[in-house]
């Protein structure tokens, strides 16, 4: 796809590209809003954004296309993923609607709004098609730069201020001042002794023939799983895998099998 073509007319190639990638973008967008897990949504969105970057390129906005990939998909979406991880990657959202009529209204408004927008675009006279050939004549990035640093210089400066404010704001919001000195290891040990709840180190997770991971609880002598053996975070998220019942079942099956066998032997006597 040449720069000239992008600047003046749409080629068949672009049409094919539009229809193929456009479909994918819509699917991506839909899955963004329909996926249960936030991480899936984020990945779908990232895909859509990359497709949009391609569209920017196709429309002659080379700089913007690159920025889209680097800043948006690269930085912002990663930020999203980071927060998703922080909050809990596997926690699935319930898509069950709790507000009465919210979903219907949302769909209705969405459909109505979409129809209106599309009708509006359809009504508009948008047949003239100038292309970017002339303005890009002195170089695309140079053209952008000229505009940014002349016509839009104030807006540019203000966005700078906005970004700084946002950065400070984010820090203020997330930062928590330590109000006391962190306890040393000795102090921690002493406290543990003083409290006397759990003197020795916490027991290790269960080690089984077929399962060996930190989310598998070890068994107590009576065969029930011990929560102490699993990390606190996993416990809080309810992500403990319980294999004890399987082990017990196996044991039961074994005993039954041996009993059957013994029974047969007795009968044969």
């Amino acid at each position: 796809m040449s720069a000239l073509a992008a600047a003046t007319a749409t080629s068949t190639g672009e049409a094919v590209q539009f229809w193929v990638l456009g479909t994918v973008a819509v699917i991506g967008a839909l899955s963004t809003i329909l996926m249960k897990k936030a991480v899936h949504s984020a990945l779908s969105l990232a895909g859509t954004m990359i497709i949009l970057a391609v569209f920017y390129l196709a429309n002659g906005a080379y700089f913007l296309g690159v920025v889209q990939v680097i800043v948006y998909t690269g930085a912002i979406m990663m930020l999203f993923l980071f927060v998703v991880m922080l909050v809990g990657v596997t926690a699935a959202d319930s898509l069950k609607e709790t507000l009465k009529g919210q979903r219907w209204l949302a769909v209705l408004c969405g459909l109505g709004f979409g129809v209106l927008l599309i009708a509006g675009i359809g009504n508009a006279k948008l047949n003239h098609f100038n292309g970017l050939g002339r303005v890009n004549s002195a170089g695309h990035v140079e053209g952008l730069a000229t505009l940014i640093f002349t016509k839009y210089v104030f807006a540019f400066e203000i966005t700078g201020a906005l970004l700084i404010t946002a950065a400070v704001g984010a820090m203020v919001l997330t930062h928590r001042e330590r109000t006391e000195r962190a306890a040393t290891q000795r102090e921690l040990a002493e406290r543990r002794v003083r409290e006397g709840v759990q003197l020795p180190p916490l027991p290790a997770p269960g080690v089984y023939a077929r399962h060996n991971a930190v989310d598998v609880a070890g068994l107590l002598p009576d065969g029930t799983p011990s929560e102490l053996t699993v990390s606190k975070t996993l416990r809080a998220r309810g992500q403990i895998r319980d294999v004890s019942s399987q082990a017990l079942n196996d044991l039961k099956a074994l005993e039954q099998a041996s009993a059957e066998r013994l029974g047969r032997e007795e009968a044969s006597k």
Binding site: A6, T10, T12, A15, F18, G22, A25, V26, A29, L30, T32, I33, A38, S41, L45, T48, L52, F55, N59, A61, F63, L64, V67, Q68, V71, I76, L79, F80, V83, V87, D93, L95, E97, T98, Q102, A106, V107, C109, G110, F113, G114, L117, I121, L126, F129, N130, L132, L144, L147, I148, K151, Y152, T159, L163, T165, A166, G169, A170, L173, T174
Partner: protein
């Protein structure tokens, strides 16, 4: 192909994003939907830029990105602190501003 199709696509993405804002409860997903809407706008700007043959549309799209970045930074910070206090990222849980 008529470049107007880009506008239709933008409208479609925008609408999907808006519907997502209304439907989803998870604040993070909600933010993603907002981003989707912003991107849809950007696409429209870029398409307009091409149609009209000047770069102002691209500049605006550029600014939109900056603002979106700032918004995401602050927004995600709010989400994180919200999650810290109430162990939930659902916007419905933050409904104390009612009578």
């Amino acid at each position: 192909m008529n470049p107007v199709n880009y506008l239709y696509l933008a409208a479609l993405l925008f609408t999907i994003g808006a519907a997502g804002v209304l439907i989803r409860k998870n604040a993070i997903v909600l933010f993603m939907c907002v981003e989707l809407m912003l991107n849809a706008c950007n696409l429209a700007f870029v398409a307009f830029s091409r149609m009209h043959g000047n770069l102002d549309g691209q500049i605006i799209a550029f600014f939109t990105m900056v603002v979106a970045a700032a918004e995401v930074v602050v927004g995600l910070a709010i989400i994180v602190s919200m999650f810290r206090t109430r162990h939930s990222a659902s916007v419905d849980d933050a409904s104390l501003m009612k009578l």
